[in-house]
């Protein structure tokens, strides 16, 4: 297919490299250097999508990040597809596949379009709220239908095949935007010795210079551009980042930049990084982000063929595409005349320039007149005719203030309408850090306001548009930033390039072109194209009482599209201001937030995906667990064996086997993951007294003690066994998940309240491998591996000894979490597997059985031992747990948590207390987390009096059992409670002691 709108020469495209691409199942051809938008316009494609609410045909309007219409689904398959990139910012590559995101069944014949036409006038703002919310039960059905009709792209359904990464940078000066201002600033700062990073969102750096016809130092702007870019590239202090969008400006000069490294090459890149996230901490930031042109708001201004004047100029000068044959231009300023001049010079016909000002005689105006282009001053385009392409415009004289039509309209035949209402500085980044934009009447735009950041601005972002001034502004700004970054710049001299200054007539402040009918009855005048917000809609919202611009925004959806209102917000505010009789600064502006343009999740996650998402921790015996068929459970970052099913065994069967083996002979648990903290110093013992609830003064060397830690509010937050290694040294054991938190807790109290105590903490969790042998035969197994006397007399319960086990130095703790005779063998971590295998071999004759966390949970629950975090939840005191025995009564120091137990609320007798539950049916296992009630026949909502914290079937006991917290439970032994289930049924259970097995503790003490 011929590129009907492509010029034979000119532009920054490479005609030697044609690229085929597919849009909505049709194949077209463009050139290297094209964007998807320029290639479509070159091919004469008018309709690129359908609007969200009215489903009107829409065409390309802009050539930049503002684009509201040309939003595509790009990618050929479910893995590579990308929702909603702007065609104006998507570089063309060979065999690109894309389609419109809006439009069902398709953009040319759109079912919703007909609905929109019929329902259009009856769809005011708030239409969906007003219409579809009733009856409420139907909303879900309405919503499905509306979604299908509208839609804004599809997420990829397959995993992303590409790789992404992140880089951190520090620099003296970060320049955002590589137009004339940013490039001048970067070069000046770099020459002053500053380390500079300059990022620009486009494929080529240069900004407005890429389509400029002006001369710098007597030669084409493009020549100056090349020499400046070369100078920057050759400077070791400068990092150039093209195709890199600075999407967010965060506190203390932290900039997020998304660099698209291979999106322009093809769909997937198997060789390198597709996108890279740069995180830059800059001493000084220069925002040289330029300005966006504003369209004018007029009747049917959304018919394909209506474009921004600057977009027309860009497509002609940069891409050699004239997107039509007959142009009508409406403007409030001189600058937009460039579009008509470029159009005329490309050999196409300019029907008319409607200049809303009473008169103008600037350089560009004269240039246009010199070419014989018809200019009508004091006129505006009030209406556009056509549906899928502009056919004609209605041009009428306007009153001097531009607020009304003052005469008869005249028709002009044309196919393209360019409009310009002036320029809006691109201040998005500055407002990310909380800076409030300030309105400036002289430039008719908001500029960045006061900021806490070390931020500089230059060029278009502060309303400086004249090229010679922009270049000068950039140099000054670059030097100032380098100076503020600590570079000495006074001795340097910089010559501002010479650019001819043109005379210019001031622009007129006009946003909304009046129609001969009142706005509410005039043809639709679109403000926000993505959400179909019209001038009439905004005025209606104002009449309905929405006066704050934030409310207008939410009611009309102004600025809610993926373009975040870049194109329409200022016009919307101006219309609101006008209808409320206020000024624009009185109306205020909405705040822009990151991201400036959407960033893919891939770039944000970088390489932190899959196995690199979160570190996994493995014990030294992990390989053995894998080889022996363990199923694993995540406990924090640890991979712990959950249970070890034998071939053909169900989980239930495996657990029963592991439990019975441990109770009847001997079991083996990998307990390496328990947190271990080495505590040393002459005040270590006193410190333990202050953080644990029980006393430590009398704990002798060679002994261990179970301790409970509470927070200052009296609630249990960790427990574990601490051993006295010598008078100045203790080893504390914490829960697996609580290790880091406990260490931090100890440091907190030591550093902030008791720095006078001489005590030091060090994590030794990873230094030790720990294996627990538990069961009546455990001593026999241990005796085979050590020469030490491990008899009950020589090595009693709650003691520890240093000994050799399997030829390795070990610490053996005689503690028990199962209620059976148990030995916990600790060896240096890298001997863990050796020692484990020795234990397994020695235990073979007793059928030693490895067990995992689930069996451990069952065995400890049978004994009523709590697991902090499962049986407690931060609202449970030791007294609630019936663990008064662990609370020191005579300690001199008022230890952490103690004072809170006598708070009135903590002395209530109806607090939830820790008890056992026996279901009436011994086969039924209560669901963990289930709520408990006293009266099963009460009306819903029932009064909940507690919940099940742990629940299992016990193969040893032969019945199911549970642990629970119940209001006043300790006084309710033997009473029935009920557990209502989601299906309406109820399970009855009896409150009993939380100790189900061996209540006297004889078995662990033999």
């Amino acid at each position: 297919m011929k590129q009907v709108n492509r010029l034979d020469d000119g532009g920054r495209i490479n005609r030697q490299t044609p690229l085929n691409f597919t849009f909505n199942d049709k194949t077209y051809q463009g050139f290297e250097g094209d964007t998807l938008a320029s290639a479509l316009l070159a091919n004469g494609v008018d309709v690129v999508g359908r609007s969200f609410k009215y489903s009107r045909p829409r065409g390309v309007i802009t050539a930049d990040a503002q684009e509201p219409n040309a939003i595509f689904q790009v990618g050929s398959n479910d893995a590579s597809t990308i929702p909603n990139p702007r065609a104006t910012q998507t570089e063309l590559y060979a065999n690109l596949v894309c389609s419109s995101t809006n439009g069902w069944p398709n953009v040319d014949f759109d079912l919703m379009g007909t609905v929109g036409k019929v329902g259009g006038s009856a769809m005011p703002p708030g239409f969906y709220y007003k219409t579809f919310m009733f009856p409420q039960s139907m909303w879900m059905s309405y919503e499905k239908m509306i979604r299908k009709g509208a839609g804004l792209g599809c997420s990829p359904l397959q995993p992303d095949p590409d790789s992404y990464d992140k880089l951190n940078h520090h620099c003296d000066v970060m320049v955002v935007g590589a137009g004339p201002a940013g490039l001048s600033a970067a070069l000046a700062a770099a020459r002053a010795g500053a380390r500079v990073i300059i990022a620009d969102e486009q494929n080529e750096m240069g900004g407005s210079l890429l389509c400029s016809t002006e001369l710098i130092d007597g030669t084409a702007a493009a020549v100056w551009l090349v020499s400046t870019l070369t100078a920057l590239a050759e400077n070791d202090n400068v990092l150039l980042l093209p195709r890199s969008t600075a999407f967010g400006y965060y506190d203390q000069n932290y900039i997020g930049i998304n660099e698209r490294r291979s999106d322009h090459i093809g769909e997937t890149n198997s060789h390198g990084t597709r996108q890279r996230l740069h995180k830059v901490r800059a001493k000084q930031v220069i925002l040289a982000t330029g300005a966006h042109e504003r369209p004018l708001v007029f009747g049917n201004n959304d018919v394909p063929g209506c474009m921004l004047a600057s977009a027309v100029t860009t497509y002609i000068n940069r891409y050699a595409v004239v997107p039509g044959n007959r142009l009508a231009l409406m403007t409030t300023n001189d600058n937009a005349y460039k579009a008509a001049i470029a159009w005329h010079d490309a050999g196409k016909s300019v029907v008319l320039i409607a200049d809303t000002r009473p008169s103008a005689d600037g350089f560009l105006v004269k240039e246009a007149m010199k070419r014989g282009i018809k200019v009508e001053f004091g006129h505006g385009i009030i209406d556009v005719k056509g549906s899928k392409r502009v056919k004609s415009v209605e041009v009428a004289p306007l009153s001097a203030d531009g607020k009304s039509v003052s005469g008869q309209a005249v028709s002009y035949i044309c196919d393209t309408v360019a409009s310009s209402g002036g320029w809006s500085p691109v201040l998005h980044l500055s407002s990310h850090t909380g800076s409030k934009p300030i309105w400036r009447d002289d430039i008719q735009g908001f500029v960045p306001g006061n900021t806490e950041q070390a931020q500089h601005i230059c060029g278009g972002i502060q309303g400086v548009y004249d090229l010679s001034q922009v270049l000068e502004d950039g140099i000054k700004c670059g030097l100032a930033a380098a100076g503020d970054a600590g570079k000495h710049v006074s001795s340097l001299e910089f010559l501002t390039p010479t650019v001819t200054k043109y005379t210019e007539t001031p622009a007129m402040a006009l946003f909304h072109i009046p129609h001969s009918k009142p706005t509410s009855r005039a043809p639709k005048q679109f403000v926000d194209y993505q959400n179909d917000v019209t001038a009439a809609g905004i005025e209606l919202a104002n009449r309905e009482g929405f006066e704050s611009i934030e409310h207008v925004k939410r009611y009309t959806a102004l600025g809610f599209g993926t373009d975040q209102g870049k194109l329409g917000n200022i016009n919307g505010m101006a219309i609101t201001a006008n209808s409320l009789g206020k000024t624009i600064p009185e109306t205020g502006t909405t705040i822009f937030r990151p991201m400036y343009t959407p960033v893919t999740f891939g770039a944000l996650s970088g390489s932190d995906v899959k196995q690199l998402f979160d570190p996994a921790r493995f014990t030294a015996m992990h390989r053995w667990h894998v080889d022996n068929g363990a199923e694993f459970e995540d406990v924090g970052q640890w991979k712990r064996p959950w249970y070890y099913p034998k071939p053909g065994e169900t989980m239930e069967q495996a657990l029963a086997r592991e439990c019975l083996a441990t109770r009847n002979s001997v079991g083996l648990l990998d307990a390496s993951t328990l947190g271990k903290i080495d505590i040393q110093g002459k005040d270590a013992r006193e410190f333990l007294n202050r953080v644990y609830t029980n006393p430590w003064s009398q704990l002798a060397v060679g002994k261990c003690r179970y301790g409970v830690m509470c927070k200052e509010d009296g609630m249990v937050f960790d427990d574990g066994v601490t051993a006295c290694i010598n008078d100045n040294r203790f080893q504390m054991t914490t829960t697996t998940g609580g290790a880091a938190g406990v260490l931090n807790w100890l440091e907190l109290w030591h550093q902030t309240e008791w720095p006078e105590l001489e005590v030091y903490f060090s994590t030794v969790t990873d230094h030790w491998s720990t294996m627990t042998i538990s069961g009546p035969n455990s001593r026999k197994v241990l005796e085979k591996l050590t020469d030490a006397d491990v008899s009950n007399e020589a090595f009693p319960y709650m003691g520890w000894i240093a000994a050799e086990v399997a030829g390795v130095k070990a610490r053996i703790f005689r503690i028990s979490f199962t209620g059976e005779l148990s030995f916990e063998i600790n060896v240096q971590a890298n001997f863990g597997l050796h020692c484990w295998e020795a234990v397994v071999a020695a235990g073979q004759e007793f059928d030693i059985t490895p067990y995992g966390t689930e069996t451990m949970h069952i065995l400890r629950a049978e004994k009523g031992f709590i697991i902090v975090g499962q049986d407690t939840d931060g609202s449970v005191t030791p007294q609630d747990l019936d663990m008064n025995w662990v609370v020191g009564k005579k300690k001199a120091f008022s230890y952490l948590g103690k004072r809170s137990w006598t708070r009135e609320d903590n002395e209530r007798t109806d607090r939830k207390q820790f008890v056992g539950l026996k279901p009436k049916d011994p086969k039924v296992v209560l669901p963990e987390g289930a709520q408990i009630v006293f009266d099963k026949d009460q009306p819903i909502p029932m009064t909940m009096v507690g919940h099940v914290t742990s629940s299992y079937y016990s193969a040893c006991l032969g019945y199911s059992f549970a642990l629970a917290v119940v209001k006043g439970g300790l006084e309710r032994m033997g009473q029935s409670v009920f557990v209502p289930l989601a299906d309406g049924s109820t399970i009855e259970a009896e409150i009993c002691s939380s100790v189900f097995y061996d209540p006297k503790g004889d078995r662990q003490n033999v």
Partner: protein, 97 residues
């Protein structure tokens, strides 16, 4: 993302390395048992939530593991100073705030 000067390491590090701990300069009463429930609850639960300057405690958890204090503006997020545990802030809010 804050850029925080650790007064112990004596250099600026990224916020990633730090954790906020809460309001600074809350001293544990020396004799908790001598306090009424109300006085104890003041220490336990009540915290300032100023709009403006705030003295808060942070910990350099992924660095030197030291706790320290910071004076920070809660609206602008500007960090006015960081100082060691046991020291007093040199920047304080005016009484009227």
């Amino acid at each position: 993302m804050l850029h925080i000067y650790c007064p112990y390491c004596e250099e600026f590090r990224e916020e990633d390395e730090f954790h906020p701990v809460g309001e600074a300069h809350i001293e544990r009463p020396l004799e908790p048992e001598a306090l009424t429930d109300e006085q104890w609850s003041q220490y336990l639960f009540f915290r300032k939530n100023p709009r403006g300057l705030h003295h808060e405690m942070w910990v350099h958890g992924a660095g030197c593991r030291k706790f320290f204090n910071m004076t920070r503006h809660t609206v602008t997020y500007k960090i006015l100073e960081t100082y060691k545990m046991g020291q007093q802030p040199s920047v304080v809010a005016e009484e009227s705030e």
